[in-house]
Symmetry: C2
Amino acid sequence: MTPTTPRTPEIPVRFEDIKAAASLLAGQVHRTPVVSSRQLDERAGAWLHLKCENLQRTGAFKIRGALNALSRLSNEERARGVLTYSSGNHAQAVALAGRLTATKTTVIMPGGAPAIKRRATEGYGAHVVAYDHLADSRERLARERAAETGETIIPPYDHPHVVAGQGTAGLELFEHTGALDMLFVPCGGGGLLSGCALAARRLAPNCHVVGVEPEAADDATRSFYSGTLQTVNNPDTIADGARTPYLGDITFPLVRACVDDMITVSDAELVRAMHFVWERMKLVIEPTGALALAGTLSGKLDIKKKRVGILVSGGNVDLAYAAQLFAAL
Amino acid sequence: MTPTTPRTPEIPVRFEDIKAAASLLAGQVHRTPVVSSRQLDERAGAWLHLKCENLQRTGAFKIRGALNALSRLSNEERARGVLTYSSGNHAQAVALAGRLTATKTTVIMPGGAPAIKRRATEGYGAHVVAYDHLADSRERLARERAAETGETIIPPYDHPHVVAGQGTAGLELFEHTGALDMLFVPCGGGGLLSGCALAARRLAPNCHVVGVEPEAADDATRSFYSGTLQTVNNPDTIADGARTPYLGDITFPLVRACVDDMITVSDAELVRAMHFVWERMKLVIEPTGALALAGTLSGKLDIKKKRVGILVSGGNVDLAYAAQLFAAL
């Protein structure tokens, strides 16, 4: 038997929690394909394996963490419902997880969020509450509401079950490819990055794990190298899933403990990586979903002749908006 | 042992040829994913399984037939080189197959073909010869050139090894899903359709096999129902891979023998199906690649509660052109 790693107050997620999440999620979320492209490999001078979470249910990895978290609530907690805040992929993920677990869900969303995102979230059966994001803090609103309603808050990343759920994407990748030399993962709040890094530490101890952020939202990179939590405020980047202001209480120590490098890429690099994947690999990926590939191709780290895993986090992007980004190339 | 089907002069392709092609192609072409979407299933009231040949090497199924044909040439034939005519996916497929088998390839292409298609074909190492498609017949030019050079002609569909190669897409689909109630396949010259239908006849004898054409290029549908070869001339449809003027000497009898129904869809139906697949399923597919899904959703055949296979034939489409199609929705 493999000895289990103890949970600590600082790092309350273990590899075993990812394994347990994988068992729980089996058959409810897609085991997404891992794809490669000889053209891409020739260009990179390396063997690149892309884990396609854009092909996941709801179009992003977020359903893994949300469904893991909701499934672990008691019947009593589920009866009181859950609450979250997000205008992005986590909102739809919690909404779908609510439907799958017969749990009432409420999502606090900025009043100015795109109608299509609100409709998609409501389409899965969630109740959407609009707030004024300039006047109010979504976290404070959520705490106040939860105190009244008894709803359980499922935050977008800083939650042990959410991190463990996201880590199943990394687990599946290693199960498919075997040990890799390097792994590149997008970083917003650090849920996906820390979960995948935790999987890497066990399954491929020598794998060099790299988090990738947009240049304009480099808080995690600065936090990682300084050792002190850094923040950004409403950064200007097309990678909307990585505009998160800071790492969490759980994800920051996990990133520090399990990640080897943090790098940043420009929006122009993101658009070029996206365009390659759409045009040559026939996959629709969102700007945030292109972070890891853009980081791989950025030249910031030596990837030559390495076996490289790349987490493609999602594919939720307005097609006309993407066409505009490509037209400006 | 399963008894083998005899080859006949009319139908010189047997199921065993598809099996043999699959062995030969293994490891050289992708075993493409089969994907499904709960949203799509809910909308269709059926279980839909999409075989993603858009994720195939060169972005379309055509490499299957081309590589099978080139691999079966003698060393002497390979030394003399091969010749084909196509401005589309078959051109790139023959070019790549030539590279993989160390065979010199020449492609006869209309002078007005898009520069990007010519470059892609040349990029794989083929020699491209332009011709005036208003003044000349590409088949005649090919025959004349081959008589001089000794090159072997590998036509886009009417060739036993090409049909057998394309049939491996259907074989893989049935191996993945088990017997299906229905199978929808795009039809241009009938290579993919007849190969997949032949696989269906053996692996799922009760499967209802349906060929799908664009309304404006309905020659195969008319041929199928009349029993006499019908033609179209340069039809006006966005499904450029299905503008083929007629079925072939091999594919027509095969389609008559193995296909159960032929239907047509409008360009507007194609754009709607494409848009759904791009937006919801995160896959880039070309107009021709959307034929089978559009046929499935057309309402022309009862699919309710059926297990349906759908061949997505390719994903080679200019991204800006696709954005224009979507903008007109």
